[in-house]
Amino acid sequence: MRKRTRICSLLMAMLLGIGVLGGCGSEPAEGSGTPESTKASVPDAGQPEGNGPDISKEVELTMYLIGDRPVDNDEVFEKINARLKEEINATINVKFMSWGEYEEKYPLIFASGEEWDIIYTADWCFYNGQATKQGFWEITQEALDTYAPMTAATIYPEAWEQAKVNGQVFMLPMNYKEITSYVYMVRGDLMEKYDIKSVSSLDEAEAYMDAIVANEPTLIPLDVGSDYDKLFVFDRMWEKANWESEEKVAGIGTWQAMGSVSELDDNAEVKGNYDQALFQGVIERLKDWKDRGFWSKNAVVNTQNNTESFLAGRSAMALCNANTAKSIYSQMSTEHPEWKVQVFDAQDGAPPVLNSYLANGMSIFSKSKNPERALMALDYLRNDVEINNLFCYGIEGKHWEAAGDNALVSLPDSANYAYDGNCNWGVRNDANWRVLEGGIPNLEELNAVWKENARSRRYQTFVFNDADVKNEIATITEIFNSDYKLLGLGFTDDPAGDIAKLKSKMTTAGADKVYAEMQKQAQEFLKANEN
């Protein structure tokens, strides 16, 4: 009996050993020997037939987009694929990851071993992180010239420069100048009821929300707090305060690092936001707003963003960027005409940001089986008028029809393929762009003001390389997602005390080291860019 148990355990130990060895032994074969070889991914231009690249083998490319699959997506891509098949002997199969899960799913598909080729990316959507982890295929100048000649000829040189991470390009940024500005979407019926004339500044928004709190107990005035919009109100107040101040403080580097710098300071001294003079005033106002019930006392566990709540009729106001407002305005006015939704400028004097080109772009997976063909496909998606229009607006005559050379009108079927709504932002191209006519009635006016005021920030294109301070950044990110988020939503009983607490936590986490490193890189950035 005893002996048998011993044999048993021996066997288990043996199996265990084999298991571990097996695990160690079999996998490296796949990825071994090439940890450094991405750098060598210069395209092999050796086998072009005649004068173009070899496209004799038919391939199906898989492209990941963020969002939900539009109803008519397959129909649109059938048409795109027909063209692509003819031009480059390739077709595209589109996969989607929804907004609710993209933060989790995005990094995972890189690690999962799944086969895919093209993905949407952006500076706010994992571009730097995945590029430094060798998640993307490097797009060299030679590759661009060989496989994407149309792009090579039309890409804005500054866009190409911005896309560089440690000197290498991993993304084709959009070829489109975009402004990000924020708007309030407000219930017109409630404005009339409580005699509110306009909601286009923080003070007016405050008055409106006061009226809601006092008279509409079933509505939350502004249902912020999800991961997506937890800092929206803070941002509005913070930007306004800084813009009106002497120093013109602006954010720098990864936003989780909470660093900011005075744009007038050529020495680029980086400080934590909590160390800036105006921070406490902003937090006090947020606390006041929270205490008055402008957002839920459970805001920190919100999982829905404020536009969703507004759409569902649970809140009286939404704060979002103009693009989001554009895409939901028509839906709201058809579903709830009685709400008389109105859109107001939420910039409140602070200039809107002229986006970096990296705000949208497309990249190729480093383990793609056909990176060259993927690049060729991207070339057509960006530059071929027919394909680009199909992707951006859907089928002409079904989803939209032209209105002059640079505009279009949406047709009723666009409910199944919304204008500029299928995560096509990475291939937006000024050369092929058409603006949407109709929609928000005062959009023209708003746009005119924004265009006039828009500016790019001094450190807009500055990219912080965190290689030397990774551990610190990791800890700081944790603080950003807890303590800083709480302050940003006004959850504090003692603003001065909690700011001091945040500061001491940040110091322990090594913030000084991070900011010193950031300052060093910012100085290099200024030297390289402004002389």
Binding site: K3, R4, I7, L10, L11, M12, L15, L16, G19, V20, G22, G23, C24, E27, P28, E30, G31, S32, G33, T34, P35, S37, T38, E103, E104, F110, A111, F126, G129, Q130, K133, Q134, G135, I220, Q256, S296, K297, N298, V300, V301, T303, S366, K367, K470, N471, E472, I473, A474, T475, T477, E478, N481, S482, D483, K485, L486, F491, T508, A509, G510
Partner: protein
């Protein structure tokens, strides 16, 4: 192989049915536990997608620095251990109490129904429990607060109250797990030889005396084994429960963050596979040590019941 084969092979032949019976379990354990264990190397690497798990460069113990530098190692370890000890104590106590009560109660149908109703929560997903808790304690529209308002009392702000969460978590853990354990203890009470109770009745023992001198000593082996199995998971927070019930609420993280939720959250926020694996490995290491210690202790007191 012809005449004197190896004793192990002979055993394999003689007891092939038994070997066949443990085969599925062994295969599952090897596939699901031992082979993935090779991924531990990730804790010592700076992960990149191109190299994958085995091809990425080594960085030694750098990944561990982050976990300890963040100051979270201590809070999360403390929370994990304290919560699990509380769950273990409270749940075991309630489970044994309920089992004894049920066994003493008459009425076959009443007993069956009670048992099933208690067992039911075990099958409810934590996601549902989390939504349930939110709808109860939500400040504006929660059931509890609506009730308090309607009787003219001040509503409770549960989601920013740190003291409330340990209680809530212990209660929901009991809500979900007591029924399951009760059935296990009930089974072992039913197995106690009825003659002992009859003899005790003849000697004039009261119900309390019977429980104290017969029932409790007889179910001791079950208690010890269940306890030992639970010790192995003391370092492992019930991830689903902490994640879903607290809604990952930053206001109360200090008292609700356990190693598992911390690892998941950092993974989602940072996409640093190496750092999070390091935290995971730290947890497994501690778990392993705890099991060894607990087993050793049991061996001293009750050598027959030790696991190994």
């Amino acid at each position: 192989m012809k005449k004197r084969s190896h004793p192990f092979l002979r055993d394999l032949k003689e007891n092939r049915t038994k070997w066949l019976m443990i085969l599925p379990a062994a295969v599952v354990v090897i596939l699901m536990c031992y082979i993935p264990m090779a991924g531990i190397v990730l804790a010592f690497k700076e992960f990149n997608y191109h190299g994958g798990i085995f091809g990425s460069p080594w960085v030694g113990f750098k990944n561990f620095e982050y976990f300890f530098q963040s100051g979270k190692a201590w809070t999360t370890t403390r929370n994990t251990i304290l919560y699990n000890i509380a769950f273990l104590g409270v749940n075991t106590f309630l489970q044994i109490t309920c089992a004894i009560l049920l066994s003493e109660l008459g009425g076959k149908y009443f007993k069956r129904i009670t048992q099933s109703v208690m067992f039911l929560p075990y099958f409810i997903s934590w996601v549902v429990v989390g939504a349930f808790i939110y709808n109860m304690f939500n400040y504006e529209f929660g059931a509890v607060n609506s009730f308090l308002r309607s009787v003219g009392m001040k509503p409770l702000d549960v989601y920013s109250n740190k003291a409330a969460w340990p209680v809530i978590l212990i209660v929901v853990s009991a809500f979900k797990n007591v029924g399951y354990g009760t059935v296990m203890y009930l089974a072992s009470i039913v197995n106690i030889d009825g003659e002992m109770f009859e003899a005790a009745d003849l000697d004039g023992a009261t119900m309390w005396q019977k429980i104290k001198y017969i029932t409790l000593p007889c179910i001791r082996p079950t208690v010890v084994i269940l306890f030992l199995m639970a010790i192995g998971t003391v370092m492992k927070g019930d991830f689903q429960m902490f994640w879903q019930v607290t809604g990952n609420n930053p206001m109360v993280l200090e008292v609700t963050d356990v190693i598992d939720t911390y690892v998941t959250r950092s993974m989602l926020n940072l996409q640093e596979f190496g750092m999070t694996s390091a935290a995971g490995l730290y947890q497994s290491g501690l778990s392993f040590v705890l099991v060894l210690i607990a087993n050793h202790a049991v061996k001293k007191v009750e050598p027959d019941y030790a696991l190994f």
